[in-house]
């Protein structure tokens, strides 16, 4: 059970993110929802590479005979975090532009495009 704790956390992150996306009307909160899902996915990736009692995957000065955690998911997660920063920055800057023109962040009022 305790080993599955990270996966439960992943499920919570993603579920909260989807909840935020579906039921919140503020554009900033939607950006937060995207971030939550992203954190969930990052946690999922990093958990995949985790091995119990293993050391960091650095060969220099590593104690011999001990398991190492998988380095690939860590590299993937780092890349994904960097991409996530760009995404969040872009979402927030577009939200800023919307606020400038509409004077509101409420999704019910930002609705000039329809039909």
């Amino acid at each position: 059970m305790i080993d599955n704790l990270p996966y439960i956390a992943v499920a919570f992150f993603v579920a909260f993110g989807i909840y935020t996306l579906m039921f919140k009307k503020n554009l900033i909160k939607i950006a937060i929802g995207v971030c939550l899902i992203e954190n969930g996915v990052n946690l999922f990736l990093i958990t995949l590479g985790y091995r119990k009692g293993a050391v960091a995957p650095i060969y220099t000065m590593a104690p011999s005979g001990q398991n190492m955690v998988l380095p690939t998911p860590q590299a993937l997660t780092l890349t994904s975090i960097v991409i996530g920063i760009a995404t969040t920055a872009l979402i927030l800057s577009v939200a800023m532009m919307i606020y400038k023109h509409y004077g509101t962040l409420d999704t019910d009022e930002v609705r000039r495009l329809r039909g």
Binding site: I37, V94, M97, I98
Partner: protein, 522 residues
């Protein structure tokens, strides 16, 4: 020369990527040259793509491994695993690459005159080049995680381009926000699915994964995650809500490139169901899911298009509807994949129709969006009710519009007819009803474009458009090139199907062709 040719898969991407970051520097010195510079870079990229296409078709799939000679790594224990990052360009990948290269080159040429505001112009071209890089990467990569990275590059660049006019108007920013949320969610779901596959098999390479995939419960979950989000990115109903907004609010040349970008997602969908899962999965069920997406997109897209008043919004709904044809053609091919008799009888033809339609659609829908951009450029409106009598003053644009409209409605001798006929006759053998729906949708498409033609071009000359003239030469040039391509494809469809489309279809159907090129060399 041969060094250049051997490294062409990476050069096609590296040149625009490098240029994208050089452009702000060049813009500091002279704002006027950035457009010409990026068109030049994209032209070089196009030449390399054509050379690579010739090589792929004549010699076979090309592999480019980053930082090593071979894709594998032999461990001391004798185990050989493909762990390197690589580009794997087969006939299908290069088919999409040709579309991307053509469309982005013509988009850059068109932008030379279309983008008048010099402020932020260098950013526009930087982003255009980055979008091109993202699309090329999605099409060439042989690695799932790389695919995710390029998907994000393409979506971030396209969001910034959709919201390009957001400084002055509210609507583009709104469309950009919508597209950003949709594409970041879909990219994260793709990453989650990649995580599942990696956790199960410890592999990221598509070919190596395809070799060991077992279609277990986890693989089913991964497929169920990947299929809808990639369909969403390609704009299929019922996840099409971003398409009309994003397509109508982006600048016209960008809309044309965005069509190709959605098709890159479509390509990824096909790559996953054919090259990664292939007959391991339940192809009949997956095929029917794609067919249902396709029929819904075709029908709902066209019925929504008929009532539109905004010319670009109307065309955007038609883009949704035309995506349905591709999904239908390929879905039928996938449904009969594990049945060799049916596959030979009509499955291959239907796949050819679907794949050929991708290229045709990129060409004629690009042309139509460019003509809509030309109308907007001169009249300053996209509302069809406010336009009229423009055939008097914009003769070339009128001719180009007629060519594009005839092609999208599937009239001979234009290219839309060639691919639609392939789809009709093969889908009829699978299920006559689907074929009839496709034909009805085609008629509705024609009706809707007759309406556009009537309200925008015909009628007496309106007084408020007295000083409207033909658009500048660079815009005419890119529209003329697209028209020539459309007519050429329409007159000689056999040539294209035999040399480009059929190899692409076989590269999808025969999984061994894809996996063998990586694993065979080890």
């Amino acid at each position: 020369m041969s060094i250049l040719l051997n490294n062409s898969p990476i050069l096609i991407l590296a040149l625009p990527l490098l240029a994208a970051f050089l452009i702000p520097l060049i813009g500091r010195i002279n704002k006027k040259t950035v457009g010409i510079f990026s068109a030049l870079v994209l032209a070089i990229s196009l030449v390399f793509t054509i050379l690579l296409a010739v090589k792929v078709i004549t010699v076979g799939p090309q592999i480019y491994v980053f930082g090593a000679k071979s894709s594998g790594l032999t461990l001391p224990s004798g185990l050989n695993v493909p762990i390197r990052i690589m580009f794997q360009v087969d006939a299908m990948g290069i088919f999409m690459g040709l579309i991307t290269a053509t469309v982005s080159f013509l988009g850059a040429i068109y932008s030379l005159a279309f983008i008048k505001k010099t402020e932020g112009m260098d950013n526009f071209y930087s982003l255009l080049l980055l979008l091109t890089v993202g699309m090329f990467g999605m099409e060439f990569t042989g690695d799932l995680f790389n695919f995710f990275v390029f998907l994000e590059i393409a979506s971030i660049a396209s969001v910034a381009l959709i919201a390009y006019r957001g400084i002055d108007f509210g609507e583009p920013a709104e469309a950009g926000f919508k597209y950003m949320v949709v594409s970041s969610i879909s990219a994260l779901v793709v990453l989650f699915a990649i995580g599942i596959l990696y956790g199960e098999y410890d592999l990221l390479n598509i070919a190596a994964l395809a070799n060991v995939i077992k279609y277990s419960q986890l693989d089913k979950i991964a497929l169920a995650l990947l299929l809808p989000v990639l369909a969403m990115k390609s704009g299929a109903v019922p996840m099409h809500m971003w398409t009309p907004d994003a397509y109508s609010e982006a600048p016209a040349p960008i809309t044309m490139i965005l069509v190709a970008a959605s098709q890159a997602s479509l390509y990824a969908l096909f790559r996953i169901v054919f090259s990664l899962y292939n007959v391991n999965s339940n192809t009949l069920a997956a095929g029917w899911i794609i067919i249902i997406f396709g029929v819904l997109s075709m029908f709902i897209g066209v019925t929504m298009a008929i009532v539109q008043k905004d010319i670009k919004r109307l065309m955007a709904y038609h883009a949704v509807s035309q995506t349905g044809y591709m999904l239908l053609g390929v879905g039928v091919g996938l449904a009969v994949l594990s049945n060799p008799v049916a596959l030979k009888e009509y499955g291959i033809t239907s796949l050819e129709g679907g794949i050929f339609h991708i290229m045709n659609h990129a060409m004629y829908k690009g042309l139509l969006f460019l003509t809509a951009g030309a109308l907007f450029f001169r009249t300053g409106t996209r509302n069809l009710n406010k336009m009229g009598g423009l055939a008097h003053s914009m003769k070339y644009t009128t001719i180009f519009f007629i060519i594009g409209a005839a092609a999208i409605a599937g009239l001979p001798p234009f290219n839309g007819f060639a691919s639609k006929l392939l789809i009709y006759e093969s889908v009829y053998k699978f299920n006559p009803l689907l074929s009839i729906i496709a034909m009805v949708v085609s008629i509705l498409t024609l009706a809707s474009f007759v309406k556009v033609f009537h309200s925008a071009f015909l009628g007496p000359k309106l007084p408020q458009f007295n000083d409207v003239q033909e658009v500048p030469q660079s815009m005419i040039l890119s529209m003329a090139i697209l028209s020539c391509v459309i007519i050429f494809f329409g007159l000689f469809p056999d040539l294209i199907v035999k040399n480009l489309v059929h190899p692409a279809v076989m590269a999808l159907v025969e999984q061994v062709k894809y996996t063998g090129t990586v694993l065979g060399g080890m």
